[in-house]
């Protein structure tokens, strides 16, 4: 076992069975020190289970999880992690006492604790709430406390399980940028779970796509982002329009069996220069986020396109969809 090149965590043939089904099956996965890995997937894909297996919070039914090159027990791994679970599960008491609790569990010296508490309260803008009882906090504040509590332990591996789900968009955005800053400074390894590709792109160095307990694709962020290896991955990464090559007009050069276009990149109305044109029939008007859009059929494939600089087409109307070729991906 070469000590320098060993990843921090390595999963080998790890599987977890529950109630007769295999809910997680990961033949191979590596986590290196200092890297941020996002596990992206739908609800029920097994992301949380994977997170818990890595962190020693769930026992694998089969397989081994290596720590620094040697087989490890769940207890071994628990020693180097701190976790933020989906709901902020805070202990009865004040915000400060919660941040201190983890340090007490870890045996961090009493003298050090107040300083660290103060540091992390400040980092997550919680200083004014230090003596507040936790049952009075808002959802966002509670989640911040949960994060501060985990970060105060300066873990080697930080585990985040969809920690931003219960937050409203502005709070989420703030927290994401704060967190990125903290991770950069602390240089800890992070494994975090999300179903939101924007969070993944903001925080992650590497992405693993999970579906039904299996990893479909894993690699550096840019690579997975630009070259999704299959439909499920593509969809998770936002390529919601998936057109089989045989449905496309002949003018479009084929580079794979499926053309992937983001919802925001397919437009009806103003045509981009050098854009491809795809004929379709409008079905109904809709709103995507806050942009007026239309659901249309290309042959028998439904797509969603943004309406740009034009009136929304009426149902049944023939339309021309436009896309910039540099924004598409092939699968």
């Amino acid at each position: 076992m070469g000590p320098v090149t060993d990843p921090l965590i390595e999963l080998r043939d790890v599987a977890i069975d529950r109630g007769g089904r295999t809910i997680l099956d990961v033949p191979h996965l590596k986590l290196a020190d200092g890297t941020v890995v996002a596990a992206l997937g739908r609800n029920g894909a097994g992301k949380s289970t994977l997170l818990r297996a890595i962190g020693g919070l769930a026992e694998p039914t089969r397989g081994t999880i290596m720590l620094n090159g040697s087989p490890s027990t769940a207890g071994d791994r628990r020693r180097l992690i701190s976790a933020v679970l989906q709901r902020p599960l805070l202990r009865r008491g004040t915000v400060s006492s919660n941040i201190e609790a983890g340090m007490r569990f870890r045996g961090i010296e009493r003298r050090e604790r107040p300083a660290r508490t103060e540091t992390w309260l400040k980092a997550l803008e919680l200083s004014h709430l230090a003596d507040q009882q936790v049952h009075r906090l808002s959802g966002g504040e509670a989640q911040r406390v949960s994060l501060a509590r985990a970060l105060a332990l300066r873990p080697r591996l930080l585990l985040l399980d969809e920690p931003f789900t219960s937050l409203d968009t502005p709070t989420k955005a703030e927290l994401l940028s704060d967190l990125r800053g903290v991770i950069d400074k602390e240089r800890c390894a992070v494994f975090f779970v999300t179903h939101d590709r924007h969070e993944a792109s903001l925080l992650a160095d590497r992405v693993a796509i999970l579906h039904q307990g299996r990893i479909l694709q894993e690699g550096p962020l840019a690579e997975v982002h630009d070259h999704p290896s299959d439909m499920m991955g593509a969809e998770l990464l936002g390529y919601r329009n998936q057109l089989p090559a045989d449905q496309l007009p002949s003018a479009i050069p084929r580079k794979g069996s499926m053309l992937l276009i983001r919802g925001s990149d397919l437009t009806v109305g103003r045509a981009p220069t050098n854009g491809w044109e795809i004929p379709a029939v409008a079905v109904r008007a809709t709103i995507d986020g806050d942009a007026p859009s239309v659901v249309a059929m290309v042959g028998n494939i439904p797509v969603m396109a943004r309406v740009v600089d034009a009136a929304t087409p009426s149902p049944g109307e023939s339309v021309t969809l436009h896309v910039n070729p540099t924004h598409v991906r092939w699968c």
């Binding site: 818990r52 962190g55 020693g56 919070l57 628990r78 020693r79 992690i81 701190s82 976790a83 933020v84 679970l85 989906q86 709901r87 599960l89 202990r91 009865r92 008491g93 004040t94 006492s97 609790a101 983890g102 569990f105 870890r106 009882q133 509590r149 985990a150 332990l153 585990l159």
Partner: protein, 234 residues
Amino acid sequence: MGLIWEGFTSALRLLWNRDPETMEILWLSLRVSLSATVVALLIGLPVGMLIAVGRFPGRKLLLAAVNTGMGLPPVVAGLFVTLLLWRSGPLGAAALLYTPTAMIIAQAFIATPLVAGISTAALQQVDPEFRTQMLGLGAGRLRSLYEVAREARLPLLAAVMAGFGGVISEVGAATMVGGNIKHQTRVLTTAAVQQTAMGNFGAAIAYGMILLAIAFLVVLVLTLAQQHQSLWAR
């Protein structure tokens, strides 16, 4: 009605003057029932934790047994312990029948299911993920269980008080295994029954009033604890 007033004033007088016989009976009642409650806590709380947090075959059966035990009539508990402790019984050599120890044992049988059952309910109120989160912050396995209990500490306090309340006021087991022997195994409940049997209703009511006072104090403690939740939090 005059008897109730007479009983009330008797109770006050006995307590104020520290009437030696009354003090002896009161002290023994507290000693026996508190000890039984301690035993019930030491057994019942872990059982409650086991049922609430554990996953093992037969868990539901254990819960059913605990819930059934909660309805155990004290007289039956007394009978069962008598059969164990009397001379011809398996533990007869210990000569424990008609001692306060026998009463503690019988009352422990009564209080333990109460403490276990209510503890289970109390601990099940804590988010099941809470323990995982504590483990995820570095708490050891036992420590994480302690943290779960700490979250449920107020309903757990209620469990203990329920156990105590159930035994301080029972008379069936205390009579059968204790024998209401003067200076040895006479407690408030058995003394009250004896006074009633002898037609001394005033004295019986006096003992009853003292029991009520104890019950009131217990409820008071619990209520204050619940009201001052924020004081207890750190």
